[in-house]
Amino acid sequence: MTTRSCAIILRAPLLIALLLAATSSRSFAADPALKLEALLVWGTNDAASPDPKHKPVEPAIRKKLQELPLKWNNYFEVSRKGIDVPAASSKKISLSEKCDVEVKNLGASTVEVSLFGRGSQVLKRNQSLPPGETLVLAGKAPNETAWLVVIKRVQ
């Protein structure tokens, strides 16, 4: 057996230990709390909202919404809530009287989003939300308009 092969054999446990440590840390390390933001948005083709409290959504969200296959030209922000979800826990917020959102931090930038309409759960979905990722839940509203719940990662 050559000196080189001996050296490779002797280094093998070190490499294996490093690989195991990396894998373990990836699998079991504590994930930080997720900072999310949820917006209730009204989509319409009207130029202005009948509610003066509504304001047009910020340009970044508007751009994202306009890239989706939706038929509306204007989007107005109805409400906005921040959601801080510690690891392995959940938080529920109300965006309106009829709309609640519950977010559970599953770790690894993944959340379980539950949408409640009039108190009833209408959707539960696991979604990966790395920074820059946005989840939009939407449905139709009266007069050819739409409601949208935009959940985006803040940190």
């Binding site: 054999i9 294996i16 209730l40 939706l70 959707l123 539960k124 979905r125 449905g139 139709k140």
Partner: protein, 166 residues
Amino acid sequence: MTHDSELKLQAYVDGELSGPESACAERLIAEDQAAHALVAELRNTRAALKGNEPVLTLPETREFYWSQIQRRIQAQAPTQPAKPATSIADLLRRFLVPAGALAALGIFCLLSVSELQSPSGGSQSEMALADPAAFTYRDFESGTTLVWLSYPADNDYSEDEFADGI
């Protein structure tokens, strides 16, 4: 003459019979021509064998002769090959090869379980409660996922409900 009589005559020639049996055999030889001929033949055969048996004489003593044979047998016996001395590298290799294989298997299992448990690997699950008509659209360029729900139904709205609908 029966077969038993022939055997008795052979024993008589070999001197193996007792006194009364020997007298009986002699009487049979004297009275029976065939018995007489058989005994003559047996005696001729015995004399031929005895006179022509080769006698080997050893140049040395019996013990010395057999000890030589024993030494030759022992010299020709296959000897067990001596085991080479096992080096530390060989011992390490014997331990590390299976240990490395086990570790690689463990890493593979951990990675597999991690990928299965983590929905970030592309396995996003969705359960649209009370809304089987929901569909999902994914815009990879902007990193946006749209889930369109048929909720609420058209008849869920009352006339005086505000346009935000939800």
